[in-house]
């Protein structure tokens, strides 16, 4: 007879417990809320998939999703090329390397709500340095509390300021790991600077850039603190991104059911896009 040793479970148990508490149980609570109507006094009413159906028919949700998509694609289109360009321009040896690296890391070290508050004060039209300068010195009508375009510009500049460094540092790591012989080969072939970038540096950076795009996609798609502190989602709903809308629904209106359904859809969209992108980028690397 075959003996079965059940002790093996003890070795898997820590991971099971960790994943359960870390992801599974919190997620299941959300699933639980998403199919019920929650009242006070621990009173619940079964709703089935109503919340999901309502949400997928609501203009408000698509508005927030659209703004989120616009925000994320805009900052990706700016931060990735800009980050690569800065990384290419950085020195590769000498005393300026640590200086550049520290300067680049600085924005990353600032807490998110501080960044929001900083840019809020900085761009206020009456007292902020940038706001005052634009309005009173240059005579440009700029007020992010009133004008949606100004609010969007400010949020995007803020995000670019805060997070381009991450792309720079990852790209830089990719660039300096390219062995010298590649550049020598290009030199012997007589390749131009553009060809060196296109045929050597970019392909060699592919892996780190994939990670950079993924991280920036996930972070920016889930962004909350900075725009919340900066604009609070306004003026009107102009900068109400998905997460801001979610918090408004959950805490502002205490609609736990719809908020839970929204969270799940939100999560699914993030996961799906990340998965598609990652699979596409790594499809030739079996």
């Amino acid at each position: 007879m075959k003996t079965i040793n059940q002790k093996g479970w003890f070795f898997v148990a820590p991971v099971v417990i960790l994943v359960a508490f870390n992801a599974l149980i919190p997620l299941m609570t959300v699933v639980n809320y998403s199919v019920q109507e929650t009242f006070g006094n621990n009173l619940f009413l079964w709703q089935g998939l109503d919340w999901f159906q309502n949400l997928l028919r609501s203009d408000r949700f698509y508005g927030a999703l659209g703004r989120q998509a616009l925000f994320t694609s805009t900052i990706l289109l700016i931060e990735i090329p800009l980050g690569v360009a800065i990384a290419l321009a950085m020195p590769r040896k000498g005393i300026w390397v640590p200086v550049c690296l520290v300067l680049m890391s600085l924005p990353l070290l600032i807490p998110w709500n501080v960044v929001g508050a900083m840019w809020n004060i900085f761009t206020l039209p009456d007292i902020g340095l940038a706001g005052y300068f634009l309005n009173s010195v240059l005579g440009i009508n700029y007020d992010m509390t009133q004008d949606p375009f100004a609010a969007w510009t400010t949020i995007i500049i803020m995000d670019v300021w805060h997070w381009t460094s991450l792309v720079v540092l990852l790209s830089y790591a990719g660039i300096i790991s390219i062995p010298d012989p590649y550049y020598q080969a290009a030199k012997i072939d007589g390749a131009s600077g553009w060809a060196v970038f296109w045929f050597i540096q970019l392909p060699k950076m592919k892996r780190v850039l994939t990670i950079a795009v993924l991280l920036r996609f996930m972070d920016s798609f889930n962004i909350y603190t900075e725009p919340f502190v900066l604009t609070g989602g306004g003026p009107g709903n102009a900068t109400t991104l998905l997460s801001i809308d979610l918090v408004k629904t959950a805490l502002g209106q205490f609609d736990l059911g719809p908020a839970a359904a929204m969270s799940l859809i939100y999560f699914a969209v993030t996961l799906l896009v990340s998965w598609i992108f990652y699979s596409y980028m790594t499809k030739d690397e079996e």
């Binding site: 590649y182 020598q184 080969a185 012997i188 007589g190 050597i200 060699k204 592919k206 030739d284």
Partner: protein
């Protein structure tokens, strides 16, 4: 077609990579740069190829001073120890890349790439990415890129160093015919003396930023001009030790002495350094006139066809090499037999002063 270094030197910051050195290379033969890691082989190749400018001195190619000319204009090719291929171009495009840059017509590119690929047995892999190839195939691809463009000079910087033993042997056997009849100057850097002897041609010995000797490979091996050259070109390492000459006798220590032979008989009395290759020290007496040396066996390396023993003689480690398998006991006192006619005698400056009569 001649490639010539005229008193070139290279300094980077405070470090001297090359001391003033001259070298004259001609096509038709392999030119081997033999030296240990960091001896200056790669610096020499960078200057010969134009990747770096010498600090002083000139580089001449075909009767023209090309010191400041870029590698592209010199029409050269370089194959590295690392397998350098364009990462997202397939094998065909990789081999074609130098031709595309040079603006060769499309139909011609296709013919020349296929020809080079056939020589290097890459025919079936033309449309694969470098990442899908084995190390040996990647290096073949780099070699094909080097031969396809019909360069005037081809530099191979330890091209086999990162390949496993079997692939290395296979590719090494193909190298000489690969470059034969191309009329290019071939420069091959290696740190392995056996590789230099296998590939033949001419050899330059490089040590600590200097070329200590240059000439036909076997001649350089047989007639080292100084102690350093003898050490660079010997594997297993040549035995080097101090002796004293008094009258007709050469004395190693109180127990070991021998009668001076060959041109060493004419040396003036005094201290000398001798160098003797391991295969002239045997564990058995197989002919007359050998000198007995008692040594304590420390390390043995038996490969089947060869037996190497490291043994201690009055504070020095000696190496003996014999064919076949010879049983040694670690720690035993063993009698070794040295052939004094195979000794090189170096003077106080390390220059060759005399030999024991036969070539090393």
């Amino acid at each position: 077609m001649v490639l010539e270094l005229r008193q070139i030197s290279k300094k980077v910051g405070q470090d001297t990579h090359l001391y003033p050195t001259s070298l004259r290379l001609e096509p038709g033969k392999f030119n081997i740069l033999l030296g240990a890691t960091n001896s200056g082989k790669t610096s020499l190749i960078k200057i010969l190829s134009g990747l770096e400018k010498p600090t002083t001195g000139e580089v001449w190619m075909d009767g023209e001073n090309v010191t400041g000319v870029t590698p592209q204009k010199r029409n050269i090719a370089l194959v590295h120890q690392f397998f350098v291929n364009y990462p997202h171009l397939n094998v065909f495009e990789n081999i074609a890349s130098p031709l595309r840059v040079a603006g060769v017509a499309k139909s011609e590119i296709s013919d020349r790439v296929k020809e080079a690929a056939d020589i290097l047995q890459l025919g079936p892999m033309l449309y694969r990415q470098p990442g899908e190839l084995s190390g040996g195939q990647q290096q073949r691809c780099a070699l094909a890129r080097a031969i396809v463009k019909e360069s005037k000079a081809i530099f191979l910087d330890e091209p086999l160093a990162n390949l496993d033993y079997k692939l290395r042997e296979e590719l090494r056997d193909q190298l000489p015919e690969l470059f034969a009849g191309r009329g290019a100057i071939v420069v091959y850097a290696t740190s392995e003396p056996s590789e230099a002897l296998l590939l033949g041609g001419n050899t330059a010995l490089v040590h600590a930023g200097k070329i200590t000797q240059f000439g036909e490979t076997t001649a350089v091996y047989r007639n080292p001009v100084d102690a350093i050259s003898a050490e660079v070109f010997s594997d297993p390492p040549i035995n080097v030790t101090n002796v004293t000459k008094t009258g007709n006798w050469i004395r190693l220590n109180d127990a070991v002495k021998w009668k001076a032979t060959g041109s060493s008989a004419d040396l003036a009395d005094g201290p000398y350094t001798i160098g003797i290759r391991p295969h002239f020290i045997k564990p058995e007496k197989d002919k007359k006139g050998l000198v007995e040396i008692l040594g304590k066996v420390e390390i043995t390396e038996l490969s089947g066809s060869e037996s190497v023993a490291h043994f201690q003689v009055s504070g020095n480690t000696w190496v003996s090499l014999d064919s076949g398998v010879h049983p040694y006991q670690i720690g035993e006192e063993h009698l070794f037999y040295m052939d004094p006619t195979a000794c090189f005698y170096f003077d106080a400056d390390g220059k060759l002063a005399a030999t024991g009569g036969t070539d090393g």
